[in-house]
């Protein structure tokens, strides 16, 4: 069971999905991967999971990163194969104004809660998710906290969110 090197994985993706898959990028084994167009992400994930020789049976991490300078929110997928012990990174860029990505919860169950967290904290809508609602913040919380332009509310249900300093200067 040889681990495929990232170039081989990328070549397999390119041959199957063509332009929906970007170039191979990365400096170390833990950050090597490629960008994927949002519309193709579910098919790419399913391909990576089911293809013999790739067998990415584990979605190790799904996170969202806010890049206000590039005006995108990037959803990063770290895929890992327990069989072949290789890691691959997929990145999907979506516009900040209306971020929407098809959900991969049908491919790995681990994605269900991870996607809910990205929705809660960054506001990315995952189309096709079975139960997309807030997970960490209260249901009636305004805004998405991990965005770079998030402003903390003054109070929540009558409890003020700031505290006077105890040091009398």
């Amino acid at each position: 069971m040889a681990a495929s090197d990232p170039a081989a994985i990328h070549a397999a993706l390119r041959s199957h999905f063509g332009d929906a898959v970007g170039d191979l990028a990365g400096t170390r084994p833990d950050n090597t991967g490629t960008t994927v167009a949002p519309s193709a992400i579910v098919d790419v994930c399913r391909f990576l999971k089911t293809e013999t020789g790739l067998a990415f049976d584990c979605l190790s991490n799904l996170s969202g990163v806010d890049y206000p300078k590039r005006n995108v929110i990037e959803v990063v997928y770290h895929l890992y194969s327990y069989r072949y012990r290789h890691l691959f990174v997929l990145k999907v860029d979506v516009p900040r104004d209306n971020p929407a990505v098809p959900s991969v919860a049908g491919v790995w169950h681990a994605a269900e809660w991870q996607e809910r967290e990205v929705f809660d904290l960054l506001g990315v809508t995952f189309e096709g998710h079975p139960d997309l609602r807030r997970i960490l913040m209260p249901e009636d919380w305004p805004g998405h906290p991990l965005r770079k332009d998030f402003v903390e509310p003054e109070e929540y249900h009558g409890i003020s969110t700031s505290r006077e300093s105890l040091l009398k200067t």
């Binding site: 833990d30 990163v65 809660w113 991870q114 960490l136 991990l146």
Partner: protein
């Protein structure tokens, strides 16, 4: 029922002429188990649950956002709070992320110090886990035994780094303080003292089995709803290897389902390649592979393996500096990294993005308890409410890992 409300609702269903009632109860966020503020909305038909829907976020302290505010060095105390029961691993994850991004070489002695501190912490965490599991099942005494042993390790670690719980011991580039004189001998003496106690602990639990086994037939009718410790854990919440991988379970939860995987052995980091240790895996000795008992036994065996590792490290400790030279105004080059450390609760993933400034751009911590919480909804169908407690305890959940 609104999942955020805390009223009890009773829904009447008419089932073939007999009206039955389904209760919707809220278990938590304050409850007597020691796993932190978790909440389950339990739909139960009497004692048997239809479903237990987890509701989290009661300890969401926005640690990931704080990383962007306090900078690389300043974030180290916050990493302790990500999983306060096994804080050394979180320290190590963050330190390794900074080192990997900036390409810093860590001195050998500090790697050994890290592994020693981490393995002591692993023993502490597993002690708390099995102790509180015993308490949740109903055996209160093993919990006090576990607390007693934790106090001895607390003393050792306090001598090493000054703190009992939230250590802040590691730095980007090494560790904060060197091992004090005389500490090695004390630590070795403790490991020698502790290792046979694990067997004694096991015997406390297995004594029930030895006593009951010949009487099983006689007591079958009597004990069918009156389960003892091993009976309460065997065949409860069986999770197959494939399900475990699909839901991204890690650590003892994954190994309890029969998957031979440990980050220390399979994606080695630090000085683990030089150490000799086994990776215990669940074998279904009391019931099916992947039940609560398997996960519990994996933890007990891991404590023994930690003792082995500790002995090797304490004997081989090399000389040298304990921290590499890292700038106070640490600015790693732009890029991202994904570091995985084998914490007591499993493989903890740190996805850190740097934009070249003194503050990280994004820090995402992917923890084992988050995934374990998500599988509970599936696993809780047709279990009894008391079994739900055993399941939560067997997954070794801690609320800060789930909510961060």
């Amino acid at each position: 029922m609104s999942l955020t409300g805390f009223e009890v609702e009773i829904q009447r269903e008419v089932d073939g002429g007999l009206s039955t009632e389904d209760m919707t109860l809220s278990m938590g966020p304050q409850h007597p188990s020691t796993h932190g503020v978790l909440r389950f909305v339990v739909r139960a038909d009497g004692e048997v649950m239809k479903e237990a829907i987890p509701d989290i976020g009661y300890l969401h302290r926005s640690i990931e956002k704080i990383a962007e505010k306090v900078g690389w060095h300043g974030f180290m105390p916050y990493t302790d709070r990500v999983d306060y029961v096994a804080a050394m691993f979180c320290n190590q994850g963050w330190a390794m992320a900074g080192e990997r991004l900036a390409g810093i070489e860590v001195p050998k002695r500090s790697e050994y110090c890290r592994v020693i501190a981490a393995e002591f912490n692993r023993i502490q965490s597993h002690l708390l886990s099995v102790g509180s599991m015993a308490m949740d099942i109903g055996a209160y005494t093993p919990f006090t035994h576990a607390l007693r042993e934790r106090e001895y390790i607390n003393d050792l670690i306090e001598e090493l780094c000054g703190a009992r719980l939230t250590f802040n011991y590691m730095r980007i580039g090494g560790v904060a303080w060197d091992i004090p004189p005389g500490w090695r001998e004390k630590a070795l003496a403790y490991v020698e003292r502790f290792e046979p106690l694990i067997d004694e602990y096991n015997a406390l639990i297995f004594a029930y089995v030895e006593r009951f086994e010949p009487l099983i037939d006689e007591y079958n009718a009597l004990i069918s709803f009156n389960k003892i410790y091993t009976e309460r854990l065997a065949n409860v919440a069986v999770i197959t290897a494939q399900e475990a991988i699909d839901y991204n379970l890690v650590g003892p939860n994954l190994r309890g389902s029969g998957v031979h995987y440990d980050v220390r052995r399979d994606e080695p980091y630090s000085v683990y390649p030089e150490l000799d240790f086994e990776v215990p895996v669940g074998t279904g000795e009391m019931g099916m592979v992947g039940d609560c008992f398997d996960r519990y036994m994996v933890r007990m065996r891991e404590m023994k393996e930690s003792c082995k590792i500790l002995r090797q490290c304490l004997q081989r400790l090399p000389g040298g500096p304990v921290v590499a030279k890292v700038a106070r105004n640490f600015k790693p080059p732009a890029g991202d990294c994904y570091v995985r450390v084998e914490s007591a609760r499993g493989d903890m993933g740190w996805y850190v993005v740097s934009d070249g400034t003194a503050f990280p751009h994004r820090c995402k911590i992917r923890t084992g308890s988050f995934a374990a919480m998500s599988i509970i909804q599936k696993v809780s169908r047709n279990l009894m409410i008391a079994d739900l407690i055993a399941v939560i305890a067997s997954f070794d959940l801690v609320a800060p890992e789930i909510d961060r």
